[in-house]
Amino acid sequence: MSRGLKGLEEKVFQKDLCIACGACLSLCPYLRTWRGRVVKLHDCGLEEGRCFAYCPRTEVDQGALQRKAHGKGYNDVGIGPVRKILMARARDPIWRKKAQSGGVVSALIDYALKKKAIDAAILTLRDTDLLPKGRMVRNREDIFNCAGSNYISGPTLEALHKGPWQGEERIGAVGLPCQALALAKMRTAPVEKKGSIDKVNLVIGLFCTWSLEYEKLMVFLKKRLGEGCIEKMDITPPPERLFKIKMADGLHSLPVDEIRPFIRNGCRACFDMTAEFSDISVGTVEGIEGWSTVILRSDTGENLFIKAEGEGMIESQPLPEDHLNHLKEASLLKKGRGLDFLREKGLMDS
């Protein structure tokens, strides 16, 4: 079987499992992204390739990868390796205002850049067309532009391969669980030429239940809500569970069920809600507005967080017990759904 582009095409593209994370992009001239999709342009012909090796939807032994990434395997399969779990928020309201919940990710990247723990960060920018794309940032203003989410995933990791890098930079990357997994696969892949992964010394992962497919969603929203320009999109926590769309003519709300058909098929094959392959994972705290759940998973993650808190960039509180239980439950449910999907579609390799 091909472990190159042909294999990727057969195992991922043709089975509609691609989540357009960007791990395979800007490595070669054969793949390109357009409107939230990854497209094969020509036949490459090589039997092995980084595209196949880095893809989070090609074969992966999660336990072995964890051992390689964090030095040990799973002891608790719920939410992956945990040093410390708490809830936190940025102290500077500028981050809280634009960010999805507590602004912790923006504040941590800002701090890491300021303290020269990293020289640049790979974040996700959403332009006026709402289409996510990877962006290399080096300053506050750029971080601000990238803050927030819109539930549409995009090829963030392309920016890591694209650079341009000058030499010995250290890079922080912020991404979805699939992107954190792709970064871990890059780090451990048995390929000769790796790209820029060796420069990445900080991975901040974002909680994710699923993400939406850009084109289909946009066609739907335009049909449903008219021609206007969309400014922001958000999903309110249960029990409300509304998809809220801010447009020039006001705020529109749709039941989340209406947008479920636009969930990426590849997201249904995902086991990871809390970005288990990151140094720090961050998500919302259901029911407590303005705060983020933070999981510190590695030395790097823990040190950065403690220093940032010590210098007053962020503040934290213990995560209430019932929230922790709820998080584990939700994470396990996602794993179960992922397994069911793979079994149902006959996608399990063994």
Partner: protein, 667 residues
């Protein structure tokens, strides 16, 4: 002064067949010559255009063959001599007029030269145009030699005037494009004054009396055919085999008979005026011999006509054997050659002659292999069409809905093959891509989800695509037309056309602007330079994504296109390019035309440090997939290199190298 226009009777000149036809027309005192270029006919008008001033002619490249024939016929109706030249496909275009003109008749000599392309070497089809002579009851001459090409053309004008009918000359590639010695005759010094005779209206309607009149003229043509000096027999009195042949078949038959040393056994009945068939003349030989072989290129025209004649007379002349295309003795497609005729004669007369060893062709191929590198049929280095098809490929792949390209005949037909990345999926007549798009562009209501794209060259657009474009707009067909505007009729030899601002004789004339034509029909029109590959991809995508629902906010960072103001405004309002026909003009001069006029745009170089060779991971995208002949893979260094002798400096390859190893500098 070229020998074409030399008034030197008796002088022998080496001429190409098409030049000989031109010379024949000059010796006949032709005044008006018109054509649309098409191989293998193009040099006839090209030659005449070159001497138009000095000989006092009107010579034009018309917009298509029908108009060309109408222009030449007008000269005839005014009492002057007119000539119209075309390839076989051209006669299809002109046939509607031709099959009305035969009913009204002509006045000054009118000669229609049709050069057929057996095997379709440079054509979309293979076709025998002689059938049109039969269809229209028109006299038909077929030259077999270069000298005859000149003689027949000159005689065709008098024949036409005697009969009051247009006369067809059918040439083939090996007559039109071969060279031979031609003995020249006198050039006339003066001609009649033109005028339309008001007492002689020329109306095909009512058809019945005109058709009857045509048949009367045809009867006279039959008599002339019997007397034609172009029909003759060469061979023994009692031949074992009679070859009935015309055109290129005559010399092939002669060569075969001489090589086989069977000239004493084989007779050659060479017909020059093949329609109307010289029945009495042919019947004489049918009566005398028993065994007949037909040698003619493309269709069994003589074969069937002679068999008809035989059927009518078999009671008197008895049983005969006929060999040719019907019994498989001669291939029924493709060109003939002396080997094919030799094989047929060997077969029929049970003789064997090996002028060269049996495995000759294998030995020749092997000997040539080291001398001639194998070369795929492809676009020239720096051809804008390669960049265009690259952009089409990228755009259709990114779009992801299996969009497909409808094309027609031109250099860009190579878009079917690897040089155009196999993007073009249909190829028929001139302009047919646009016509088919008019139909495919209506199928959305039945569930067609694929984007419909048509390609058409600039010259083809003027020739045949304008009515289709009007139809698209009128009937609301939804497709994208890509006009590949290289400012030349490149495939046939860079003849000027209405968009170039020059006439056949090199005179300045107003440019008929492609964009203005399309806009006047209300199509959305944009213009890009195909060498700016990324902008072209972006524009194609924008123009095929017409479904309602794409987010209206324009992203200013996503491309750097300079759109026309109206498009920009429409884009802001989110209404750019609604359903309907859209036109994208890809404007970039043919590389061969540019090369004659100006220096290279850029000096291109592959940075040997930056090119990573096999280690790149690109798997030789530049030479394996993009495949411009200006790029080569250096086996010794394992790196890409520029072939400076071939590279035209277009710079497109600098955009495709993932390592940015191909660099351009202002030349």
């Amino acid at each position: 002064m070229s020998s074409i226009s030399q008034n030197a009777p008796g002088k022998v000149a080496l001429l190409m067949g098409n030049e000989a036809i031109a010379r024949g027309a000059l010796e006949a005192g032709v005044k008006v010559c018109a054509a649309y270029p098409g191989n293998p006919s193009s040099e006839i008008i090209g030659t005449l255009a070159g001497v138009a001033d000095e000989m006092g002619l009107h010579v034009e490249w018309s917009v298509n063959e029908k108009v060309a024939l109408e222009v030449a016929a007008a000269a005839s109706l005014a009492g002057l001599r007119g000539l119209c030249a075309m390839k076989q496909n051209g006669l299809n275009v002109a046939s509607d007029f031709l099959l009305n003109l035969n009913l009204t008749g002509t006045r000054g000599g009118l000669v229609v030269v049709v050069a057929d392309d057996p095997a379709g070497v440079s054509s979309s089809n293979e076709e025998d145009s002689r059938i049109f002579a039969k269809l229209g009851d028109l006299p038909l001459l077929e030259p077999a030699t270069i000298q005859e090409a000149k003689e027949m053309t000159r005689e065709a004008f008098s024949l036409s005037e005697k009969l009051g009918l247009p006369v067809m000359i059918r040439s083939v590639t090996r007559v039109s494009h071969a060279r031979g010695n031609v003995s020249l005759d006198e050039l006339p010094q003066s001609g009649p004054k033109p005028g339309f005779d008001l007492s002689q209206p020329r109306c095909a309607f009512p058809a019945l009396p005109n058709h009857r009149l045509l048949h009367e003229r045809f009867q006279r043509a039959k008599e002339m055919s019997e007397e034609s000096p172009f029909n003759f027999y060469r061979g023994p009195e009692r031949p074992d085999l009679v070859v009935i042949t015309s055109g290129s078949g005559y010399l092939y038959s002669l060569e075969a008979a001489i090589n086989l040393k069977i000239e004493e056994r084989v007779g050659i009945l060479k017909l020059g005026m093949t329609w109307p068939l010289p029945e009495a003349f042919v019947l004489g030989y049918l009566r005398e011999a028993g065994n007949f072989l037909f040698i003619e290129e493309v269709d069994p025209f003589l074969e069937n006509n002679v068999k008809e004649l035989f059927a009518q007379n078999c009671f008197d002349i008895g049983v005969k054997r006929f060999h040719g295309k019907a019994d498989g003795m001669v291939p029924d497609v493709g060109e003939l050659n002396p080997e094919i005729v030799t094989a047929a004669m060997e077969n029929l007369l049970n003789v064997r002659h090996l002028p060269r060893p049996e495995n000759y062709s294998r030995i020749a191929r092997e000997a040539a292999a080291g001398l001639v590198p194998a070369r795929a049929l492809g676009f020239c280095a720096g051809c804008p069409h390669r960049a265009t098809y690259w952009a089409i490929k990228l755009a259709l792949a990114l779009d992801g809905r299996n969009g497909f390209v409808l094309g027609d005949i031109g250099c860009y037909s190579l878009g079917m093959g690897p040089s155009g990345f196999a993007q073009m999926k249909t190829l028929h007549a001139m302009g047919s891509g646009v016509g088919l798009a008019c139909g495919f562009g209506q199928l959305e209501r039945f569930g067609l989800e694929q984007p419909v794209v048509a390609v058409c060259g600039d010259s083809t657009f003027y020739h045949a695509a304008i009515p289709a474009l009007i139809n698209a707009r009128y009937n609301g067909a939804n497709f994208l037309l890509l006009l590949l505007d290289n400012n030349a009729t490149a495939m046939t030899g860079f003849q000027p056309h209405p968009g170039t601002g020059l006439t056949a004789t090199g005179d300045k004339t107003p440019v008929i602007d492609l964009r203005a034509i399309c806009e006047v029909f209300g199509a959305s029109v944009e213009v890009v330079d195909p060498f700016d590959v990324e902008s072209t991809v972006e524009m194609i995508l924008r123009m095929i994504r017409t479904e309602k629902g794409v987010h209206p906010v324009r992203n200013p960072n996503c491309c750097n296109l300079e759109l026309s103001e109206t498009s920009n405004q429409k884009m802001e309002k989110g209404e750019i390019i609604s359903n309907g026909v859209k036109v994208l003009i890809l404007r970039r001069e043919c590389a061969l035309v540019s090369a004659k006029r100006q220096k290279k745009l850029f000096r291109i170089e592959v940075d040997q440090e930056r090119c990573l060779g096999e280690a790149c991971g690109c798997n030789r995208l530049c030479t394996r997939i993009f495949k411009c002949p200006g790029l080569m893979w250096d086996q010794a260094t394992g790196r890409a290199r520029i072939d400076e002798a071939i590279c035209t400096g277009c710079g497109v390859c600098t955009e495709i190298c993932p390592a940015s190893a191909i660099r351009k500098e202002a030349a």
